[in-house]
Structure formats: C-alpha cells, structure tokens
Subunit: 200 residues, 2 copies
C-alpha cells in the first residue's frame, strides 16, 4: 500500500494479510470494508477475536478447543467412550461429526510428527492419549490421521505405543473414494484399494 | 458450526463470514487460525480493527480516507490541483496512482447514483465536488467512474452540474484494452473503440 493510504487502513490490511489464504489485495479490500461497518459491528468483531484467545482452552480429556472444562462431546453420556478416534486438528472432528455415523469420542493431536518441520511426539498430545488409554475405559483407538507420510508415520508411532497397553488399534480404510470414476483415481490409491480388497 | 464447537470460535467465525468474499468454510478456518496466534498478535489485530473506525475519517478536500485533516495527496504541493479525477471509491485512487502517469488530485464520490439501489446524488460527495470547483482552482474534472450504467449515469449527471461552472469536464477513454486480442473483445467495446477512433 503506497503511503497516501491512511496508516490505520494499512495496518489493518497487514493484519488481515497475516491470515492464511489472504493476500495483500484481498486484505486491502477487507480493510476498506471495515470502514463501511458500523462502530458496534467493528467492536463485536474486535471482541470476538480477543474472546477466542481469552476463553478458549483445550478440553481436559480430548484436547479439543472448548470454553468449558470438558468439551460438549466428552460431557455427552450418549457417546461411546470405549472408542476414541485420533485426529490431527479440531477441524477434523467436524468432518467426522458431519458424516454422522461415528458415536465414539475423539482425541486431538494438534499436529503430526514431522522431523523436517521439527515437530516431535512431545510437541503433540500423545502423552495425554496414553494416559487416557491407561485409565482403562478405552477399548479401541482409531488412527484417523491423513494419508500422508507424516500422517502414516504418526499413526504407526502411536500404534506402537498403544498396542502394549492391550487396546485395539485400527486405521481408517484407504481406497477409492465413493462415487468416483476409477479412470481418474491415482496409482497409489488403486494399489491401496487392491491391497485392501474385501471379499464380497 | 455444530454445537460441539466452542462458542467463542463460532462467534468469531460468524464475524469473519460477514466480510465480503469470505464464506462460512473459510471463516471457520480463519477462526481456528486465530487460536494459533500469539496473544499479542490477536491484540494487535483487534486494535487495528478499532483504530480504523476511530482514527479514519474523510479528507476535507478530496473525501478520501485519511487519519489527518487533509490526506497526503491533497497536502502534497507537487501535485497539480487544477486537474481533479473523480472516482467512485478510495480503492480506485490506488489504481490510478499505481499507473503513475497522473499527477493531479482526486475526488471520491463514495458510490454511484443508482435509483434501484436507492443511492441518490445527495448520498454521494457531489456537493463537496461542486464547492471545490466553485472555489476556483480546478480547471479540468476527469470523470473516472466505471463503464457501467451507474458509472455512466453518474458521470453524465455530474458533468451537467459542472459545465455551467465553466470548468472542462472529460471522461476516461473507453476502448480495446492495451495488449489484448481483438478476437476476444466484446461487441460493445468494439463499437466504442470504433466510435472513438483517433486519426493516426
């Protein structure tokens, strides 16, 4: 932004541009939009930002974001506490909840093991998962990390820690996406789908 | 966002979703991103929002946003105050400044006349432009509104008000964009380019 733009606008645009997926052009557009918002709307937005940092913390049990002590999912007695689905981020929980078929609980790792990205197991919520399994109510842990090098490595690492505790450890099935044309499926997925084929 | 998401996150996502071009999916992603920001970064962001509303007002002369009494452009004695380029929004100024060839001043209308959108001349900074021209230093007014029905109508309306004041009123040239293939130019633009052809 050239120096003829009012400083508070430039500062706000720079703040928007720090957000993921927002470039300087969009950031400027958003900053200009804020000038058209009412004072109370801007105050609400500003408060909402602060509130997220002040009132959000991790659920004692599943490490998901919550504003209570335990999250609504862990406090829900209709959920099956014997199955725990291990995911990378809180956002992943929304994907499983939307699908609607899973009635167990979750555990959020808040990342994946990545030696290149300097993320080690101790940076993730792995010890919290082990304690949870050691407490005895968990019968099955589903490793639901991405089908990537980091996702697979993290799943294998955690599975090796969990198995000695006598808990069943499973991994999401990987194969051809439902409703897709085989013509357009990549080689690795085809091989995975062949390898994991089921009897009909 | 289903009700298992922490309320402050939902509230912040809703705030992001009010911004132009940001849907609920992106808004949720941004809200989650805020949880990963440092307290001081969030505070800075929050302050920047408030600052824009508190410290930005319209330049006394050109009606552009500024945090001073007059904007840096109007205060710059190297600019030619005899030519005023009339634009719809403050963002339009950036486009002309980037091109670098214009050394006059600007006047921001903050909208276009639109009977359907219930925007009337009195809702725009038209009277401020008339006063500016009446003050006597302005020799030429360039109407630089969009080449749309509203843009043209606004240009014609203002031109009719300005001409009796003895000032030269011009309109941006419309024609084939520089560097484009005639094959891909639309009919209206071709007709405009023919109509406004220049002798070589």
């Amino acid at each position: 932004m050239a120096d003829y733009t009012a400083l508070p606008l430039t500062v706000l645009a720079e703040q928007f541009a720090k957000l993921p997926g927002i470039g300087m052009k969009t950031a400027k557009r958003l900053a200009y939009h804020v000038t058209t918002m009412s004072n109370s709307d801007v105050q609400e937005f500003s408060n909402a930002l602060i509130n997220v940092k002040c009132n959000i913390h991790l659920c004692d049990i599943c490490q998901n974001f919550t504003d209570g002590v335990t999250c609504p999912l862990c406090s829900d007695h209709n959920r099956d506490g014997s199955i725990v689905c291990v995911v990378e981020t809180p956002q992943d929980i929304a994907i499983f909840e939307k699908s609607g078929d899973f009635n167990g609980l979750y555990h959020v790792l808040h990342g994946l093991i990545s030696p290149l990205g300097k993320v080690m197991p101790q940076d993730l919520k792995v010890s919290e998962l082990l304690k949870r399994v050691q407490s005895g109510t968990v019968k099955e842990v589903i490793m639901a990390t991405n089908s990537t090098v980091e996702g697979d490595a993290t799943a294998i690492y955690i599975a090796n820690l969990l198995k000695p505790l006598g808990v069943k450890v499973t991994r999401l099935a990987f194969g051809i996406p439902v409703g897709s044309y085989i013509e357009y499926v990549d080689d690795v997925t085809i091989n995975k789908a062949l390898e994991n084929r089921n009897e009909m």
